[in-house]
Structure formats: C-alpha cells, structure tokens
C-alpha cells in the first residue's frame, strides 16, 4: 500500500509512543478545560458570549479527536513488533523501519505494495525496512515525532491556570489606574455663555434644556456622540441615566469617573469607556462598585487628551445610586 512520509527519523519507538501519548493527553486536557470553562462560566471573564459555544465545540472536537487517536495508537502498539534497529539513526514508527537520511527531513514518498520486506535508497545510502503490514503505516506523514518536553510544558500552562482558578474577574485597580487619567476639563466657551445666559436651572455650569428628553444611555452611544459635534448638540442639555462602575479621580471627591469595560471579543481587546460625573456633594463608593447615575448631559474638552469627554452633572447626590453589576456586553 502506498503512503507518503516526510518526518524526522531520529527517535526510537519508545520516543514515538511517548510523544504520541503526551500529544493525546495534552490535547484531551486542553479540550476538557475548554468544556469545564464553559460549564463553570469562567469564559465570562475572558470572552464575550458569542465565543462561548465555539470554545465548547472546539473542546469537544479535540477530546473526540484525542479519543480516536488513542484507540488508533492502542491498535498500533498492539501490532508493533520489536524491530531490529539496523543503523545508528534509528527512528520510531509503529511500522519500525530503520534508515538514515542525509538531511534533517527529506519529505519523500515511499511506495509499499502490501506487506513488504525491502531495501531502498535515500541520499545514496542503503536502508532497510523491517516488515510491516498494509494497514499500519497510514497517517505518519510529515510529522516531526521528536520528543520535545518543552512543548508540553508550554501547553500545560492553560491547564494549570485553570486549575488555579485564574484568571480572576476583570482588570485590577492597577490597570484602571493606568487607563483612567482624569484630566482637567474645559467647557465649550459657547455652551458656557449660553448656560449663563439661560440661567441654568441646575447648580452647575451645565446647560439643561427647558424641556429635556430623558435618555437611558449606553456608554458607546455617549462616547460616539462625543466624537461628533452635531450629535453633541442633540444630546447636550438632556437628562441621561447611565449604569457603570465607580472610579474615584485623584484630587477630587465630587468628581468621579463612571466606566465600563467594553470587550469586543476577548479581554485583550478590552477598551475602557469613561464618562465623567460631577456631583454637588462628595461621593464615596468602593472602586469598581456598580452605580446608576442620572444627570444633565454635556461634553467637555480634555486638553491633555485632546478629546471631548461626556459629562453627567448631577442635581443632587441622590442621583447616584448603587445598583446590580452586569456582564452584559450589549448594555455597554
């Protein structure tokens, strides 16, 4: 029977089976971890919902493949007979041929018609094959079966981290400190003049429309509006309600940042979306606490970042209330 080979021939039978055994164990281990992560909701911490089922499917697929490979390897081991190692550069396959190659890997094809006992040459060297049957040689093509323990150590990392219940939920305060830097805001002078002229009904410089619209806001919506001057005008002066996490700004007890971590696919692509909150009295919550805030919408300029920042100005401290946390990405 015909087959093709392109693998390195520098390992013995024992090494081949050792390598295959570790391949099966590590693959199955990773597959099982994927399934357990799905079952334990650990995926919530690192991926958006759309990825959970693909991870589960991937885990099941890998476990099934590892199971099939384990059966095939078991059969192969049963058929393998001790073969004479005729040359120093012995190599390990269940069909146990022993020959040497001038190159690291020749990517060549062998032809075998049924059980064979033959010699053929590679790189001008005579080689000899031990007998092997028709059905045992399939599928070893182009594989480097060299025993490389470092590979398996690397692959064990995700399994070990899962066993340690890592990663934890969400980014640490340290990361938030790096990402959230509340610079001084400068109000649009035109809006400021209008607010003064209109005798703003709130005790702030924010201009409230005489008949404001009540808006249930989302962070993306508000950030999107801040980037477009026309939209800023639409939103400004309305009353907006927004739910997010509390982060105290250094140097002020009346201003804080409300933020949400916007994950598009995974935690690595997370972006922190921020809205500045201005309260009339000092506000104190635990960092990361979930709060709901209602206030007048305005947009102010952060000169340090050279961009517009959405601001909610509260009428009183009753406008900020603790609320339930959520991992619902659609609500960001």
């Amino acid at each position: 029977m015909a087959h093709s080979h392109a693998h390195s021939h520098d390992e013995g039978d024992g090494t081949f089976f050792q390598d295959q055994l570790f391949t099966i164990l590590l693959s199955a281990g990773i597959g099982v971890v994927a399934i357990l992560m799905y079952r334990s909701n650990m995926l919530e911490r690192i991926l958006v919902q759309g990825f959970w089922k693909p991870v589960l499917a991937g885990g099941i697929t890998i476990v099934v493949l590892a199971f099939i490979r384990a059966i095939a390897l078991w059969q192969l081991a049963g058929k393998a007979s001790p073969a004479p190692v005729e040359q120093a550069a012995d190599h390990g396959h269940a069909h146990s041929h022993a020959h040497s190659h001038g190159k690291e890997d020749c990517g060549h094809d062998h032809a075998h018609q049924g059980p064979c006992e033959h010699d053929h040459s590679h790189g001008a060297k005579e080689t000899s094959h031990a007998p092997h049957g028709d059905d045992e040689e399939e599928g070893h093509e182009d594989h480097d079966h060299g025993w490389s323990p470092w590979k398996y150590i690397v692959l064990a990392i995700p399994i070990v981290l899962f066993a340690l219940n890592l990663p934890k939920n969400g980014f640490s305060e340290s990361r938030l400190d790096k990402e959230i830097k509340g610079g001084a805001l400068q109000q649009n002078p035109k809006r400021l003049a209008l607010a003064a002229f209109a005798g703003s009904p709130v005790m702030t410089k924010a201009l409230r429309k005489t008949e404001p619209t009540l808006r249930n806001l989302r962070f993306k919506e508000l950030i999107g509006a801040s980037a477009v001057l026309r939209l800023q005008e639409d939103y400004e002066g309305d009353i907006g309600t927004l739910r997010g996490q509390f982060y105290r700004l250094p140097g002020s007890d009346r201003e804080f940042t409300l933020f949400r971590v916007n994950m598009t696919c995974c935690a690595a692509d997370s972006v922190i979306l921020e809205t500045r909150i201005v309260a009339p009295e000092p506000v104190d919550f635990k960092p990361g606490a979930w709060v709901s805030v209602s206030g007048v919408i305005s947009f102010q300029r952060d000169e340090a970042k050279k961009k517009w920042v959405p601001v909610l100005t509260l009428k009183s401290n009753d406008d900020v209330q603790p609320t339930e946390g959520t991992t619902d990405i659609d609500g960001v």
């Binding site: 990773i30 493949l65 018609q113 399939e138 890592l166 916007n262 598009t264 972006v271 517009w308």
Partner: protein, 339 residues
C-alpha cells in the same frame, strides 16, 4: 506586582481561548485536506499565470473564510498539497481581512463615525495590494531557492521525478503513490484515525506557538495603553502611523475585533487606523511564532519587511490623500482638529 500578574494572566489567557476554536477548526480542516484531497488536485484549479494565481489567493478568503490563527495550519497543508507558495502567502495575508465577517465588523465599527464605506474600501483594497505584492516577492524567492524556504512540514510532497526504485514499485498502478494516496479506498476508521493524527499534530504544533505569542503580547501589552499610543503620536503622521503599526504587532488582536479597537482611538487620523487594521491580521507576535512552523527565516523576514514597509507607505499616502478620499470633513477628523 500581584495585580499586574493577574492582569497579565487575564490578557494572556483570553488571547489563547479566543483563538482556540479557530485553531481547532484549522487543524481539522488541515487533517481532512491531508487525508481526502489528492495531491495536486487543488493546484489544478489555480490559474497557470503567476499573477492571476496570486490574485486568486488574495480573494480566497471570500470563499474559505479563516482568521489569522486558523489559516496557518490550513495554509501549510495547502502548500503540501501543491498549491503555489505565492497563492498560499496571498491567502494567508489577505484571508483574515478579505472575508465577509471582517468586512462587516469593519463597517459596523466605523459606520457610526460616518466613514464605514471608506474604511472598508481602504482596508480591503490595501490588504489585497499588500498581500499580492508580498506574495509575488516570495514567489520570486521560491523560484530561486525552492523548498529551502519552507520547513519540512510545509514542503510540497514530491510528485515529480520519483526515484527509479519508487517507479519500479509502482509499475502496477502507473501513478506515483503520493498522488493516489488520498483517493485510495481505506477503512472508515483508518481515515478518521489519520485525520485525527494530522489534526492533533497540527493543533499541538500551532497551540504551542500561539501560547508563546500570547505570552509575549500580554507581557508587552501590560506596559502599553491606548493612551500611550495616542500620546506619543500627536501631531506627527509618520510617528502616529508607526505607533499604530507597533500597536498592531503587540496587541495580537483577532481581525474580527480589531476594527472596534481601532475605532476607539478617536483622536487618531484614519490613516493610522488603516495601518493598524491592515498590518495586524498579517503580522503580530503570535503569528511570527506560528510562521516559524511553515517558513524558514528568509521568508519570514521578507514577509515582515514587505508588509511593514508597504503598510507604512500606503498609510502615509492615505494620510495626505484623505481629504480627496473623503471630501466632506468627517467626525473623526473634525474632532481631531479640536474644533
């Protein structure tokens, strides 16, 4: 320190598990390709003209959509099945950009900024141009160096010039064994077992380097925030574009997600975002390590230099031509101007 370690683990592990389903998919497709598709069968479908063949590779993602992680094992098997190297490289580079999922996500991310169509057109157009040009360069190298450019695992199976011994053994069939192997009849379990072996082998091979790449990305990303990129690049288009290119290499984002991240850099000029969106799916830390399972150093260096230089040059061109591309000032530019 402890908190930084937790943040590192969060980023590191999320990159791995996000890519995991695609690596599995790629490995399974690779296993099926290896077992079922006869040698050279795919090559017969590709035009003989070199440029046309590379162009076909550039748009193959529309038919076989794969992300950058899954595409590496598939491309390796396609190479072994005799698909021209240029076609494979074009597919590998353009496939993660020119597919319907990524085109849609790019449009959705930039639609609210009023530049959805322009960003999609630029990303797809420049992605195709960079991929095809790079593929042609690599194809030229292949003409000189042959399979020395590839790892043994990726080198095409030999189909020409079998040794006299091989011919003698195959007189009965009159066909070289590597050509009839995938077509020959075998027990069902044997086929499944072969597919599982190839798939597991490729899975392990790619996962190892994906893990190392994710580790590198998470380490660097810990020192690197969106604010950092924005702050170092203010006012200098070349620095801005280079900054975003470095960010693309470091952040190792999936091509389905990167448009949303790019859109979040609200103060940057669209040219810098285009650089980020075109380079990222073609080259980053994790891909660099995964490429080592397919290509020798010469090809990796060529691909990197070609992609990097082209993306920079084209992005600079976009920067200076942006007002012609989008005559009406868009939100992104107006706000950047600080009005």
């Amino acid at each position: 320190m402890e908190k930084d370690v937790f943040d590192f683990v969060l980023t590191f592990i999320s990159i791995i598990w996000e890519a995991f389903p695609f690596v599995v998919l790629g490995a399974v497709v690779a296993g099926i390709l290896e077992e079922v598709v006869p040698q050279q069968a795919l090559a017969k479908l590709i035009p003989q003209n070199r440029l046309l063949a590379v162009c076909v590779g550039g748009v193959l993602g529309l038919v076989f959509p794969m992300c950058e992680c899954g595409i590496v094992p598939v491309m390796r098997r396609l190479l072994r099945k005799g698909l021209p190297l240029g076609t494979c490289v074009a597919y590998m580079l353009a496939g993660p950009i020119i597919n319907l999922v990524v085109i849609s996500s790019t449009y959705v991310a930039f639609g609210p900024h009023g530049i959805g169509n322009e960003m999609v057109a630029l990303r797809v157009g420049l992605g195709f141009l960079v991929a095809v040009t790079t593929a042609l360069i690599v194809q030229g190298q292949y003409a000189t160096h042959g399979n020395k450019l590839l790892t043994p695992l990726a080198a095409p199976q030999q189909t020409k010039g079998p040794t006299p011994e091989v011919i003698a053994k195959d007189e009965a069939s009159q066909v070289h064994p590597s050509q009839n192997r995938a077509g020959e009849s075998k027990p069902f379990f044997q086929r499944i077992a072969n597919i599982s072996e190839t798939a597991l082998h490729d899975f392990i091979d790619i996962m190892v380097f994906l893990t190392l790449g994710a580790c590198m990305a998470a380490l660097v990303k810990g020192q690197f925030t969106t604010e950092t990129v924005e702050s170092i690049s203010k006012g200098f288009p070349a620095v801005t574009i280079l900054g975003m290119m470095v960010a693309a290499i470091v952040m190792c984002l999936c091509s389905e997600a990167d448009a949303f991240v790019a859109a979040s850099f609200t103060t940057l000029h669209p040219s810098a975002k285009i650089a980020f969106l075109v380079l990222g799916p073609m080259f980053d830390f994790k891909l660099l390590l995964m490429f080592t399972r397919v290509f020798r150093r010469r090809v990796i260096v060529t691909v990197f230099l070609s992609v990097f230089i082209q993306v920079f040059v084209y992005s600079m061109a976009v920067h200076y031509l942006w007002s012609y591309i989008v005559p009406t000032p868009t939100a992104a530019v107006v706000v950047e101007g600080g009005q």
